[in-house]
Assembly symmetry: C2
Homo-oligomer: 426 residues x 2
């Protein structure tokens, strides 16, 4: 009975979060660009002025988590440093200076009856952001949502609770300072995971939910949510080395894709090499990658062309997101076979072709189904900042609404605006 | 055990549908504009040449449904006539002639490192369309999906099964004639509703699911689906008559909105009148609407200004989609109160202001949250054809991906294409 009563009251609490967010969304929707800019620049000041308090709160979080045995990668993501605080401040100022995306009618056309029809860019409304214990995401996500005129309900991993409370206080202070509704950024402070399930049901208040974290979290939110989900699944990225290719450029691209930051979603996981170039390309690639400790898992045709440390590929190595210095390697007979392989084992994230052949480049761009497709460039460019979006809240690997990095623009939508002089329908 | 075995085999059958659709999607994605045009024009020919067979199959459906006691509105929607066949043919030719939406890079910019970054418009992929027993939707939905380079899995209401089989046969014939994969349009022929639930789980094959029909169907699909849903909920549309207004134009707009076709989602359900104009406007509106039998349900301030047949409004009349010749009427003190009312009782579908006041017009356009917001024009214009989109597959009332009528363009998405000369990330 107690558990039932608690879960009812938790659900009711989430309803209140939703209702407040929806009221605040109207205020944000009609806010002027200047007020949003002011909130973000003031937030940068607050982050500087209160740095000591925030780092102290974070220190407590880190100590508690360490005692509880949190693993090192997660402890690292939980830890705020003066350098990360600087980055958060820089992000506030950067997003403040981006062009305001909402309010303007982007295109307009006239109908035969004289109606002027246009599309006006507007905020999405209320965004629920569910993420792991990474306190900097609290600021990064909130400032993008605010810039786009949305309100956000933040639910971060429980290990970061003290840090998030300290940061959310600043967010609300900055909003109020600029005359914007403080409820435009609300933090859910309960650590009960049932809060997430409750939020997933509130489609009368929440326009979109964005899970950001491990595959389990994303899957759970996707299954429970009745509102649209913008999600970011895994990145199984391939590079195809075509027969006619600039060998040095291709080597650099493969090396950069695998080695620069192997733990991220736009790192390379598989190298596909055209049979006509395999005997020249693979020995060089094996040397270069082997020298920095990349483990190569090769198909039977590739194996003899690589160094003695290369291993024979197992079936599960295909389509695997290694998140590590491991690379699958396959020889293919043709561009068609490469495209077939990518269609089967890719994850719609990032696909690269290295080629000098114009027709093959165009075919790859058109036919490889991924949120970013590149010719002669590293997979590591699939990132909002690198592509020129200014900043990103995540990379969408599903096709609706946004496919690829989501910046401020992707946190908006359009509505039809119709200007008449009394027209009615015949 | 038998039921379990059946549902397992049904789920497996749906997996096969999904897998075939996904294979066909690659063929559609690389198809040339000409092939899609050819398929659609040939389909128009087939609809003419086989009209007798289709009408005969439909006649059987209608008779069976009548014997089973289907109500008249649904029998009407089930029935095909030579006139509806003409409309379906015209739709094929019209959609064939629309500009091809896919393949081009719509915008491109250069990064400081020389990378050219662009957005290429691409098909969504595999679309599952779940709809009621309206055989013309089989053609309307399929041709829009095909034009946009998608493949579609069609699951129509079971009462229309014979008609849908006849129509789907023509769809596949037309696709094959144009050298396109016949599996680009597949009809699910099982009448077991478990097929819908099974489709809702296939996010490895299906990119988006579109339920079109009653609120129960939409709700069920939304709750079960793990992939994105493009949905069309109810339309509770308001018209606000401002203090400074062209009285005749406003009367026409209200009359058209309520009377021209009261059973549809963009019909008016509620009239909000500024207090300064209520004493002049409402008696005229009452006369004009009363003359054609519209039942008026008025707030206490509006009631004495309307004829004797007007009724006092009950709380449930607010936010009600009457789908009938019934109109709620309220007097409000200001534009702010009207916007407050719409925020509370509207359904994000269509909102109209009648005004001569420029500032109020701009505020209403910006602040009323609906997929179409109109100044001095009828709510009935919220329709893909009327707004100039060419044709529509439905009207989205949720904001992600599409908000408002969804035409061919809304059945596509964009991916990032990156053209490099060997760039890697620093």
């Amino acid at each position: 009975m107690n558990a039932l009563r608690e879960s009812v009251s938790l659900a009711e609490e989430m309803v209140r979060f939703g209702a407040r967010a929806k009221v605040a969304a109207r205020g944000m929707g009609r806010s002027a660009p200047h007020d949003k800019t002011l909130a973000l620049t003031y937030l940068a000041d607050l982050l500087a002025g209160r740095e000591r308090d925030i780092l102290a709160a974070n220190q407590q979080d880190v100590e508690t988590a360490r005692e509880a045995g949190l693993d090192t990668p997660r402890l690292n993501r939980l830890t705020l440093t003066p350098a990360i605080m600087d980055e958060m401040r820089a992000a506030c100022l950067h997003v403040a200076q981006l062009p305001d995306p909402v309010g303007a009618t982007e295109s307009q056309w006239q109908r035969p009856n004289g109606l002027l029809v246009g599309r006006m860019r507007i905020p999405l409304g209320v965004i629920a952001m569910i993420y792991e214990a990474r306190p900097n995401v609290t600021i990064d996500a909130a400032i993008l949502c605010i810039k786009a005129g949305n309100t956000v309900i933040l639910r971060g991993g429980s290990e970061a609770l003290r840090s998030n409370i300290a940061l959310a206080t600043l967010l609300q202070e900055a909003l109020a300072h600029a005359g914007l509704p403080a409820d435009a950024a609300q933090l859910v402070t309960t650590t009960d995971r049932a809060a997430i399930t409750a939020l997933c049901k509130l489609d009368q208040y929440i326009d979109v939910i964005i899970p950001r974290g491990g595959e389990g979290l994303v899957q759970a939110v996707t299954e429970a949510a009745v509102m649209p989900v913008l999600k970011h699944f895994k990145g199984v990225c391939h590079a195809f080395i075509d027969a006619d290719v600039d060998m040095d450029a291709a080597l650099n691209i493969v090396f950069n894709g695998k080695v620069q930051r192997p733990g991220v979603c736009n790192a390379l996981e598989c190298l596909l090499v055209h049979k006509d170039v395999a005997a020249r390309f693979l020995p060089m690639a094996g040397d270069r990658l082997g020298a920095v400790g990349v483990e190569l898992r090769a198909c039977p045709r590739a194996l003899p062309l690589l160094g003695p440390e290369a291993k024979l590929q197992q079936p599960e190595d295909k389509g695997q997101e290694f998140h590590d210095l491991i690379l699958a390697v396959c020889v293919v007979d043709s561009l068609d076979e490469a495209l077939e392989y990518i269609a089967r084992y890719g994850s719609n994230h990032t696909e690269v072709i290295c080629t000098r052949d114009h027709v093959n480049a165009l075919r790859f761009l058109r036919e490889a189904d991924a949120s970013m497709v590149a010719v002669n460039a590293s997979s590591r460019f699939n990132d909002g900042g690198q592509l020129g979006l200014g900043a990103e809240i995540g990379i969408s690997t599903s096709k609706l609404h946004a496919y690829g990095p989501m910046g401020v623009q992707e946190l908006t939508t359009t509505k039809f605006v119709v200007l008449g002089q009394g027209q009615v329908r015949e």
